[in-house]
Subunit: 240 residues, 2 copies
Protein backbone atom coordinates (compact mmCIF):
# COMPACT_ATOMS: atom_id res chain seq x y z
CA UNK A 1 0.00 0.00 0.00
CA UNK A 2 3.05 2.26 -0.10
CA UNK A 3 3.28 4.99 -2.71
CA UNK A 4 6.40 6.20 -4.43
CA UNK A 5 7.42 9.48 -6.00
CA UNK A 6 5.05 11.22 -8.40
CA UNK A 7 5.41 9.82 -11.91
CA UNK A 8 5.82 12.46 -14.54
CA UNK A 9 5.71 13.08 -18.29
CA UNK A 10 7.90 10.61 -20.13
CA UNK A 11 7.89 8.07 -17.31
CA UNK A 12 7.24 4.48 -18.41
CA UNK A 13 3.81 3.07 -17.71
CA UNK A 14 3.98 1.07 -14.47
CA UNK A 15 3.40 -2.67 -14.89
CA UNK A 16 0.08 -3.95 -13.58
CA UNK A 17 0.21 -5.63 -10.18
CA UNK A 18 -0.18 -9.41 -10.44
CA UNK A 19 -1.98 -9.71 -7.10
CA UNK A 20 -5.35 -8.45 -8.42
CA UNK A 21 -5.41 -5.66 -5.83
CA UNK A 22 -6.97 -2.37 -7.06
CA UNK A 23 -4.64 0.46 -7.90
CA UNK A 24 -5.36 4.05 -6.88
CA UNK A 25 -3.94 6.84 -9.03
CA UNK A 26 -3.40 9.75 -6.70
CA UNK A 27 -1.49 12.94 -5.95
CA UNK A 28 -0.27 13.24 -2.37
CA UNK A 29 -1.81 16.67 -1.74
CA UNK A 30 -5.06 16.31 -3.70
CA UNK A 31 -8.03 16.57 -1.31
CA UNK A 32 -10.29 14.60 -3.69
CA UNK A 33 -7.79 11.75 -3.93
CA UNK A 34 -7.57 11.91 -0.13
CA UNK A 35 -11.28 10.96 0.01
CA UNK A 36 -10.50 7.71 -1.81
CA UNK A 37 -7.49 7.00 0.44
CA UNK A 38 -9.58 7.56 3.58
CA UNK A 39 -12.44 5.36 2.32
CA UNK A 40 -10.07 2.53 1.33
CA UNK A 41 -8.31 2.72 4.69
CA UNK A 42 -11.52 3.06 6.73
CA UNK A 43 -12.84 -0.05 5.01
CA UNK A 44 -9.47 -1.81 5.40
CA UNK A 45 -9.26 -2.59 1.68
CA UNK A 46 -5.79 -3.46 0.33
CA UNK A 47 -4.71 -1.30 -2.61
CA UNK A 48 -1.65 0.00 -4.42
CA UNK A 49 -1.06 3.70 -4.94
CA UNK A 50 0.56 5.30 -7.97
CA UNK A 51 1.28 8.99 -7.43
CA UNK A 52 1.06 11.22 -10.47
CA UNK A 53 2.58 14.64 -11.20
CA UNK A 54 -0.44 16.77 -12.15
CA UNK A 55 1.65 19.57 -13.63
CA UNK A 56 3.59 17.31 -16.03
CA UNK A 57 1.21 14.40 -16.49
CA UNK A 58 2.45 10.99 -17.70
CA UNK A 59 1.19 10.22 -21.22
CA UNK A 60 -0.45 6.96 -20.08
CA UNK A 61 -2.68 8.69 -17.50
CA UNK A 62 -5.43 9.11 -20.11
CA UNK A 63 -5.79 5.31 -20.30
CA UNK A 64 -7.02 5.12 -16.70
CA UNK A 65 -8.45 8.63 -16.30
CA UNK A 66 -10.00 10.10 -19.48
CA UNK A 67 -10.25 13.59 -17.98
CA UNK A 68 -6.66 13.33 -16.63
CA UNK A 69 -7.81 13.80 -13.05
CA UNK A 70 -7.12 11.97 -9.81
CA UNK A 71 -8.36 9.97 -8.03
CA UNK A 72 -8.84 7.09 -10.46
CA UNK A 73 -9.35 3.57 -9.17
CA UNK A 74 -8.09 0.86 -11.52
CA UNK A 75 -9.93 -2.41 -10.90
CA UNK A 76 -7.28 -4.74 -12.24
CA UNK A 77 -9.09 -7.96 -11.24
CA UNK A 78 -12.35 -7.06 -13.04
CA UNK A 79 -13.14 -8.02 -16.64
CA UNK A 80 -11.59 -5.48 -19.06
CA UNK A 81 -9.84 -3.87 -16.06
CA UNK A 82 -12.05 -0.77 -15.88
CA UNK A 83 -11.14 2.43 -14.06
CA UNK A 84 -13.48 4.50 -11.94
CA UNK A 85 -13.18 8.27 -11.61
CA UNK A 86 -14.82 10.99 -9.44
CA UNK A 87 -14.05 10.71 -5.73
CA UNK A 88 -17.64 10.34 -4.50
CA UNK A 89 -18.54 7.73 -7.14
CA UNK A 90 -15.42 5.73 -6.19
CA UNK A 91 -16.30 5.89 -2.49
CA UNK A 92 -19.94 4.85 -3.07
CA UNK A 93 -18.73 1.98 -5.26
CA UNK A 94 -16.39 0.74 -2.51
CA UNK A 95 -19.17 1.02 0.07
CA UNK A 96 -21.62 -0.96 -2.09
CA UNK A 97 -19.11 -3.58 -3.26
CA UNK A 98 -17.60 -4.19 0.21
CA UNK A 99 -20.40 -3.88 2.78
CA UNK A 100 -18.10 -4.46 5.79
CA UNK A 101 -17.19 -1.31 7.74
CA UNK A 102 -19.97 0.70 6.06
CA UNK A 103 -19.53 4.42 5.48
CA UNK A 104 -23.00 5.54 4.30
CA UNK A 105 -26.10 4.85 6.42
CA UNK A 106 -28.46 2.10 5.22
CA UNK A 107 -31.66 4.18 5.27
CA UNK A 108 -32.32 5.82 1.85
CA UNK A 109 -33.40 9.14 3.39
CA UNK A 110 -30.35 9.36 5.69
CA UNK A 111 -28.09 8.39 2.75
CA UNK A 112 -29.58 11.18 0.66
CA UNK A 113 -29.22 13.70 3.49
CA UNK A 114 -25.55 12.76 3.97
CA UNK A 115 -24.90 13.07 0.23
CA UNK A 116 -26.58 16.51 0.17
CA UNK A 117 -24.39 17.66 3.06
CA UNK A 118 -21.25 16.60 1.17
CA UNK A 119 -22.55 18.29 -1.98
CA UNK A 120 -23.11 21.50 -0.01
CA UNK A 121 -19.53 21.23 1.19
CA UNK A 122 -18.48 22.27 -2.33
CA UNK A 123 -19.32 25.80 -1.13
CA UNK A 124 -16.65 25.52 1.57
CA UNK A 125 -14.15 24.11 -0.92
CA UNK A 126 -14.59 26.93 -3.40
CA UNK A 127 -14.57 29.65 -0.72
CA UNK A 128 -11.37 28.13 0.70
CA UNK A 129 -9.61 27.97 -2.71
CA UNK A 130 -10.59 31.59 -3.30
CA UNK A 131 -8.85 32.56 -0.07
CA UNK A 132 -5.75 30.35 -0.30
CA UNK A 133 -5.07 30.30 -4.02
CA UNK A 134 -6.61 33.59 -5.20
CA UNK A 135 -5.97 35.68 -2.10
CA UNK A 136 -9.61 36.77 -1.90
CA UNK A 137 -11.07 37.83 1.43
CA UNK A 138 -12.64 35.12 3.58
CA UNK A 139 -16.11 36.67 4.00
CA UNK A 140 -17.76 33.75 2.17
CA UNK A 141 -15.71 31.12 3.96
CA UNK A 142 -16.81 31.48 7.57
CA UNK A 143 -20.62 31.33 6.88
CA UNK A 144 -20.05 28.29 4.62
CA UNK A 145 -18.51 26.43 7.57
CA UNK A 146 -21.29 27.61 9.92
CA UNK A 147 -23.69 25.22 8.14
CA UNK A 148 -21.58 22.28 9.32
CA UNK A 149 -21.32 23.61 12.89
CA UNK A 150 -25.13 23.84 12.98
CA UNK A 151 -25.59 20.39 11.47
CA UNK A 152 -23.19 18.72 13.90
CA UNK A 153 -24.98 20.39 16.83
CA UNK A 154 -28.31 19.19 15.42
CA UNK A 155 -27.08 15.61 15.10
CA UNK A 156 -25.91 15.68 18.73
CA UNK A 157 -23.08 13.20 18.14
CA UNK A 158 -19.30 13.67 18.17
CA UNK A 159 -19.05 12.74 14.47
CA UNK A 160 -21.42 13.36 11.55
CA UNK A 161 -21.56 9.55 11.29
CA UNK A 162 -22.58 9.15 14.95
CA UNK A 163 -20.22 7.58 17.50
CA UNK A 164 -17.56 7.05 14.84
CA UNK A 165 -16.61 8.74 11.59
CA UNK A 166 -18.70 7.90 8.52
CA UNK A 167 -19.21 9.09 4.96
CA UNK A 168 -19.68 12.80 5.72
CA UNK A 169 -16.73 12.88 8.14
CA UNK A 170 -14.25 11.33 5.72
CA UNK A 171 -15.53 13.19 2.66
CA UNK A 172 -15.23 16.66 4.23
CA UNK A 173 -12.12 15.96 6.32
CA UNK A 174 -9.52 16.56 3.57
CA UNK A 175 -10.50 20.22 3.45
CA UNK A 176 -10.52 20.63 7.23
CA UNK A 177 -7.02 19.12 7.36
CA UNK A 178 -5.92 21.86 4.94
CA UNK A 179 -7.95 24.54 6.74
CA UNK A 180 -5.19 24.88 9.31
CA UNK A 181 -2.94 26.58 6.74
CA UNK A 182 -5.03 29.71 7.36
CA UNK A 183 -3.15 30.12 10.64
CA UNK A 184 -0.14 31.19 8.54
CA UNK A 185 -1.99 33.98 6.75
CA UNK A 186 -4.79 35.10 9.10
CA UNK A 187 -3.99 33.75 12.54
CA UNK A 188 -6.38 35.90 14.58
CA UNK A 189 -9.37 35.58 12.30
CA UNK A 190 -8.78 31.85 12.00
CA UNK A 191 -8.53 31.35 15.77
CA UNK A 192 -11.56 33.47 16.57
CA UNK A 193 -13.68 31.45 14.16
CA UNK A 194 -12.38 28.16 15.54
CA UNK A 195 -13.46 29.31 19.01
CA UNK A 196 -16.90 30.16 17.65
CA UNK A 197 -17.22 26.67 16.11
CA UNK A 198 -17.48 24.71 19.36
CA UNK A 199 -18.68 21.47 17.78
CA UNK A 200 -16.46 21.60 14.69
CA UNK A 201 -13.38 22.38 16.80
CA UNK A 202 -14.00 19.34 19.01
CA UNK A 203 -14.61 17.28 15.87
CA UNK A 204 -11.32 18.47 14.31
CA UNK A 205 -9.48 17.36 17.47
CA UNK A 206 -11.12 13.92 17.39
CA UNK A 207 -10.57 13.45 13.65
CA UNK A 208 -6.90 14.46 13.89
CA UNK A 209 -6.33 11.62 16.37
CA UNK A 210 -8.28 9.07 14.31
CA UNK A 211 -6.10 6.25 12.95
CA UNK A 212 -7.68 6.33 9.47
CA UNK A 213 -7.04 10.07 9.22
CA UNK A 214 -3.49 9.51 10.47
CA UNK A 215 -2.98 6.93 7.71
CA UNK A 216 -3.03 9.77 5.14
CA UNK A 217 -2.13 12.83 7.17
CA UNK A 218 0.04 15.83 6.42
CA UNK A 219 0.86 18.63 8.88
CA UNK A 220 -0.25 22.26 8.42
CA UNK A 221 3.37 23.12 7.55
CA UNK A 222 3.48 20.44 4.84
CA UNK A 223 0.17 21.56 3.32
CA UNK A 224 1.37 25.14 3.40
CA UNK A 225 4.61 24.18 1.64
CA UNK A 226 2.51 22.53 -1.07
CA UNK A 227 0.17 25.53 -1.50
CA UNK A 228 3.16 27.88 -1.55
CA UNK A 229 4.88 25.98 -4.37
CA UNK A 230 1.72 24.80 -6.17
CA UNK A 231 1.54 27.25 -9.04
CA UNK A 232 5.25 27.31 -9.88
CA UNK A 233 7.08 24.11 -8.98
CA UNK A 234 4.90 22.00 -6.66
CA UNK A 235 6.84 20.04 -4.06
CA UNK A 236 4.85 16.83 -4.68
CA UNK A 237 7.46 14.46 -3.29
CA UNK A 238 8.13 16.02 0.11
CA UNK A 239 6.54 13.00 1.85
CA UNK A 240 7.70 10.29 -0.58
CA UNK B 1 -49.82 15.30 -10.35
CA UNK B 2 -50.74 18.39 -12.33
CA UNK B 3 -48.72 21.57 -11.99
CA UNK B 4 -49.99 25.10 -12.13
CA UNK B 5 -48.45 28.41 -13.07
CA UNK B 6 -45.04 29.36 -11.74
CA UNK B 7 -45.36 30.90 -8.28
CA UNK B 8 -43.49 34.14 -7.89
CA UNK B 9 -42.15 36.63 -5.34
CA UNK B 10 -44.90 37.68 -2.96
CA UNK B 11 -47.05 34.62 -3.63
CA UNK B 12 -48.46 32.95 -0.51
CA UNK B 13 -46.81 29.73 0.58
CA UNK B 14 -48.89 26.82 -0.78
CA UNK B 15 -50.59 24.71 1.88
CA UNK B 16 -49.10 21.26 2.39
CA UNK B 17 -50.99 18.40 0.73
CA UNK B 18 -52.88 16.28 3.25
CA UNK B 19 -52.44 13.06 1.25
CA UNK B 20 -48.81 12.53 2.31
CA UNK B 21 -47.70 12.47 -1.32
CA UNK B 22 -44.25 14.04 -1.97
CA UNK B 23 -44.14 17.45 -3.53
CA UNK B 24 -41.69 18.37 -6.26
CA UNK B 25 -40.61 22.00 -6.59
CA UNK B 26 -39.84 22.53 -10.23
CA UNK B 27 -39.57 24.95 -13.15
CA UNK B 28 -41.14 23.72 -16.37
CA UNK B 29 -38.04 24.28 -18.52
CA UNK B 30 -35.32 23.31 -16.04
CA UNK B 31 -33.42 20.26 -17.37
CA UNK B 32 -32.32 19.27 -13.86
CA UNK B 33 -35.89 19.35 -12.55
CA UNK B 34 -36.83 17.30 -15.64
CA UNK B 35 -34.60 14.50 -14.34
CA UNK B 36 -36.71 14.29 -11.19
CA UNK B 37 -39.97 14.36 -13.19
CA UNK B 38 -38.74 11.56 -15.46
CA UNK B 39 -37.58 9.41 -12.53
CA UNK B 40 -40.86 9.89 -10.65
CA UNK B 41 -42.87 9.05 -13.78
CA UNK B 42 -40.66 6.10 -14.80
CA UNK B 43 -41.10 4.65 -11.31
CA UNK B 44 -44.85 5.47 -11.36
CA UNK B 45 -44.62 7.40 -8.08
CA UNK B 46 -47.49 9.78 -7.31
CA UNK B 47 -46.36 13.34 -6.56
CA UNK B 48 -47.52 16.94 -6.62
CA UNK B 49 -45.65 19.60 -8.56
CA UNK B 50 -45.22 23.23 -7.52
CA UNK B 51 -43.71 25.34 -10.29
CA UNK B 52 -41.51 28.22 -9.22
CA UNK B 53 -40.47 31.41 -11.02
CA UNK B 54 -36.65 31.32 -10.84
CA UNK B 55 -36.25 34.95 -11.83
CA UNK B 56 -38.54 36.29 -9.10
CA UNK B 57 -38.33 33.59 -6.47
CA UNK B 58 -41.03 33.20 -3.82
CA UNK B 59 -39.73 34.11 -0.35
CA UNK B 60 -40.69 30.70 1.09
CA UNK B 61 -38.54 28.77 -1.43
CA UNK B 62 -35.59 28.92 0.98
CA UNK B 63 -37.54 26.76 3.45
CA UNK B 64 -37.52 23.78 1.07
CA UNK B 65 -34.42 24.59 -0.97
CA UNK B 66 -31.64 26.34 0.98
CA UNK B 67 -29.68 27.21 -2.19
CA UNK B 68 -32.92 28.40 -3.91
CA UNK B 69 -32.57 25.84 -6.71
CA UNK B 70 -34.92 23.35 -8.29
CA UNK B 71 -35.58 20.47 -8.20
CA UNK B 72 -36.38 20.06 -4.50
CA UNK B 73 -38.39 17.09 -3.31
CA UNK B 74 -40.43 17.76 -0.18
CA UNK B 75 -41.10 14.52 1.71
CA UNK B 76 -44.23 15.64 3.51
CA UNK B 77 -45.00 12.22 5.04
CA UNK B 78 -41.55 11.83 6.67
CA UNK B 79 -40.68 12.97 10.20
CA UNK B 80 -39.81 16.71 10.20
CA UNK B 81 -40.88 16.85 6.53
CA UNK B 82 -37.36 17.08 5.07
CA UNK B 83 -36.58 18.31 1.57
CA UNK B 84 -34.03 16.76 -0.76
CA UNK B 85 -32.07 18.78 -3.31
CA UNK B 86 -29.69 18.00 -6.22
CA UNK B 87 -31.29 16.10 -9.10
CA UNK B 88 -29.03 13.04 -9.02
CA UNK B 89 -29.31 12.65 -5.25
CA UNK B 90 -33.11 12.87 -5.50
CA UNK B 91 -33.18 10.23 -8.25
CA UNK B 92 -30.90 7.83 -6.36
CA UNK B 93 -33.04 8.29 -3.25
CA UNK B 94 -36.20 7.41 -5.18
CA UNK B 95 -34.49 4.37 -6.71
CA UNK B 96 -33.30 3.11 -3.31
CA UNK B 97 -36.51 3.89 -1.43
CA UNK B 98 -38.83 2.42 -4.08
CA UNK B 99 -37.09 -0.62 -5.61
CA UNK B 100 -39.89 -1.33 -8.13
CA UNK B 101 -39.16 -0.23 -11.70
CA UNK B 102 -35.44 0.17 -10.96
CA UNK B 103 -33.41 2.80 -12.80
CA UNK B 104 -29.82 2.03 -11.76
CA UNK B 105 -28.33 -1.45 -12.28
CA UNK B 106 -27.87 -3.64 -9.17
CA UNK B 107 -24.20 -4.47 -9.71
CA UNK B 108 -21.92 -1.96 -7.88
CA UNK B 109 -19.46 -1.70 -10.79
CA UNK B 110 -22.20 -1.11 -13.39
CA UNK B 111 -23.83 1.44 -11.06
CA UNK B 112 -20.53 3.30 -10.76
CA UNK B 113 -19.97 3.20 -14.52
CA UNK B 114 -23.45 4.61 -15.17
CA UNK B 115 -22.90 7.38 -12.61
CA UNK B 116 -19.55 8.27 -14.23
CA UNK B 117 -21.23 8.50 -17.63
CA UNK B 118 -23.83 10.92 -16.26
CA UNK B 119 -21.09 12.91 -14.53
CA UNK B 120 -19.19 13.15 -17.83
CA UNK B 121 -22.38 14.44 -19.43
CA UNK B 122 -21.74 17.70 -17.56
CA UNK B 123 -19.27 18.40 -20.37
CA UNK B 124 -22.11 18.25 -22.92
CA UNK B 125 -24.30 20.45 -20.73
CA UNK B 126 -21.70 23.19 -20.39
CA UNK B 127 -20.72 23.07 -24.08
CA UNK B 128 -24.41 23.34 -25.00
CA UNK B 129 -25.06 26.30 -22.67
CA UNK B 130 -22.01 28.05 -24.14
CA UNK B 131 -23.53 27.70 -27.61
CA UNK B 132 -27.17 28.47 -26.83
CA UNK B 133 -26.87 31.06 -24.08
CA UNK B 134 -23.47 32.64 -24.76
CA UNK B 135 -23.44 32.32 -28.56
CA UNK B 136 -20.02 30.59 -28.54
CA UNK B 137 -19.01 28.34 -31.41
CA UNK B 138 -19.93 24.66 -31.09
CA UNK B 139 -16.43 23.17 -31.54
CA UNK B 140 -16.49 21.70 -28.02
CA UNK B 141 -20.05 20.44 -28.30
CA UNK B 142 -19.80 17.82 -31.05
CA UNK B 143 -16.82 15.89 -29.56
CA UNK B 144 -18.54 15.93 -26.15
CA UNK B 145 -21.51 14.08 -27.69
CA UNK B 146 -19.20 11.66 -29.55
CA UNK B 147 -18.38 10.01 -26.21
CA UNK B 148 -22.03 8.97 -25.87
CA UNK B 149 -22.25 7.73 -29.47
CA UNK B 150 -19.21 5.52 -28.81
CA UNK B 151 -20.56 4.28 -25.48
CA UNK B 152 -23.97 3.37 -26.93
CA UNK B 153 -22.27 1.47 -29.78
CA UNK B 154 -20.09 -0.34 -27.22
CA UNK B 155 -23.12 -1.34 -25.12
CA UNK B 156 -24.79 -2.75 -28.24
CA UNK B 157 -28.32 -2.08 -26.95
CA UNK B 158 -30.95 0.43 -28.12
CA UNK B 159 -30.85 2.26 -24.77
CA UNK B 160 -27.99 2.91 -22.35
CA UNK B 161 -30.09 0.93 -19.85
CA UNK B 162 -30.39 -2.08 -22.22
CA UNK B 163 -33.73 -3.02 -23.79
CA UNK B 164 -35.50 -0.15 -22.05
CA UNK B 165 -34.46 3.27 -20.76
CA UNK B 166 -32.67 3.37 -17.40
CA UNK B 167 -30.73 5.82 -15.23
CA UNK B 168 -28.34 7.11 -17.91
CA UNK B 169 -31.11 7.48 -20.50
CA UNK B 170 -33.39 9.54 -18.28
CA UNK B 171 -30.58 11.61 -16.71
CA UNK B 172 -29.10 12.73 -20.05
CA UNK B 173 -32.38 12.96 -21.97
CA UNK B 174 -33.40 16.47 -20.82
CA UNK B 175 -30.45 17.95 -22.66
CA UNK B 176 -31.04 15.92 -25.81
CA UNK B 177 -34.65 17.12 -25.81
CA UNK B 178 -33.30 20.68 -25.82
CA UNK B 179 -30.57 19.85 -28.33
CA UNK B 180 -33.07 20.16 -31.16
CA UNK B 181 -33.19 23.95 -30.70
CA UNK B 182 -29.86 24.04 -32.56
CA UNK B 183 -31.83 23.43 -35.76
CA UNK B 184 -33.04 27.05 -35.45
CA UNK B 185 -29.52 28.51 -35.31
CA UNK B 186 -27.23 26.06 -37.14
CA UNK B 187 -29.45 23.78 -39.20
CA UNK B 188 -26.79 22.30 -41.50
CA UNK B 189 -24.13 21.70 -38.87
CA UNK B 190 -26.76 20.20 -36.56
CA UNK B 191 -28.11 17.84 -39.24
CA UNK B 192 -24.70 16.70 -40.41
CA UNK B 193 -23.72 15.78 -36.86
CA UNK B 194 -27.00 13.96 -36.29
CA UNK B 195 -26.28 11.87 -39.40
CA UNK B 196 -22.81 11.10 -38.05
CA UNK B 197 -24.32 9.91 -34.72
CA UNK B 198 -26.03 6.78 -36.01
CA UNK B 199 -26.68 5.25 -32.58
CA UNK B 200 -27.59 8.48 -30.80
CA UNK B 201 -29.99 9.49 -33.60
CA UNK B 202 -31.84 6.16 -33.35
CA UNK B 203 -31.88 6.55 -29.56
CA UNK B 204 -33.32 10.09 -29.82
CA UNK B 205 -36.14 8.71 -32.02
CA UNK B 206 -36.91 5.92 -29.55
CA UNK B 207 -36.76 8.21 -26.52
CA UNK B 208 -39.02 10.80 -28.14
CA UNK B 209 -41.75 8.15 -28.50
CA UNK B 210 -41.29 6.82 -24.94
CA UNK B 211 -44.34 7.41 -22.72
CA UNK B 212 -42.28 8.57 -19.72
CA UNK B 213 -40.47 11.11 -21.89
CA UNK B 214 -43.83 12.19 -23.35
CA UNK B 215 -45.14 12.72 -19.79
CA UNK B 216 -42.80 15.75 -19.47
CA UNK B 217 -42.14 16.73 -23.07
CA UNK B 218 -41.85 20.10 -24.77
CA UNK B 219 -41.36 20.65 -28.50
CA UNK B 220 -38.22 22.22 -30.05
CA UNK B 221 -40.30 25.37 -30.71
CA UNK B 222 -41.36 25.58 -27.05
CA UNK B 223 -37.80 25.12 -25.78
CA UNK B 224 -36.61 27.73 -28.25
CA UNK B 225 -39.26 30.19 -27.05
CA UNK B 226 -38.00 29.63 -23.49
CA UNK B 227 -34.32 30.12 -24.42
CA UNK B 228 -35.19 33.19 -26.44
CA UNK B 229 -37.00 34.88 -23.54
CA UNK B 230 -34.86 33.40 -20.75
CA UNK B 231 -32.60 36.33 -19.91
CA UNK B 232 -35.22 39.06 -20.14
CA UNK B 233 -38.74 37.90 -19.37
CA UNK B 234 -38.88 34.08 -19.41
CA UNK B 235 -42.13 32.63 -20.71
CA UNK B 236 -42.37 30.09 -17.86
CA UNK B 237 -46.12 29.54 -18.16
CA UNK B 238 -46.49 28.76 -21.88
CA UNK B 239 -47.46 25.15 -21.04
CA UNK B 240 -49.39 25.82 -17.81
Amino acid sequence: MSAGKHLTKGSPKPALPDDGVPRLYSMRFCPYAARAHLALNAKKLPHHTINVNLKEKPEWLVEVSPLLKVPALHLVAEKDQPSLIESLIIVEYLDEKYPENPLLPKDPLQRAQDKILVERFNGVFSAFWNVVLEGKNPDDLWPAVDIFETELAKRGTPYFGGDKPGYVDYMIWPLFERFSVLQFTMKEEYNSNLQRWVKISAWIDLMTKNEVVQSHFATPEQHWEYFRTRSTNPNYDMLA
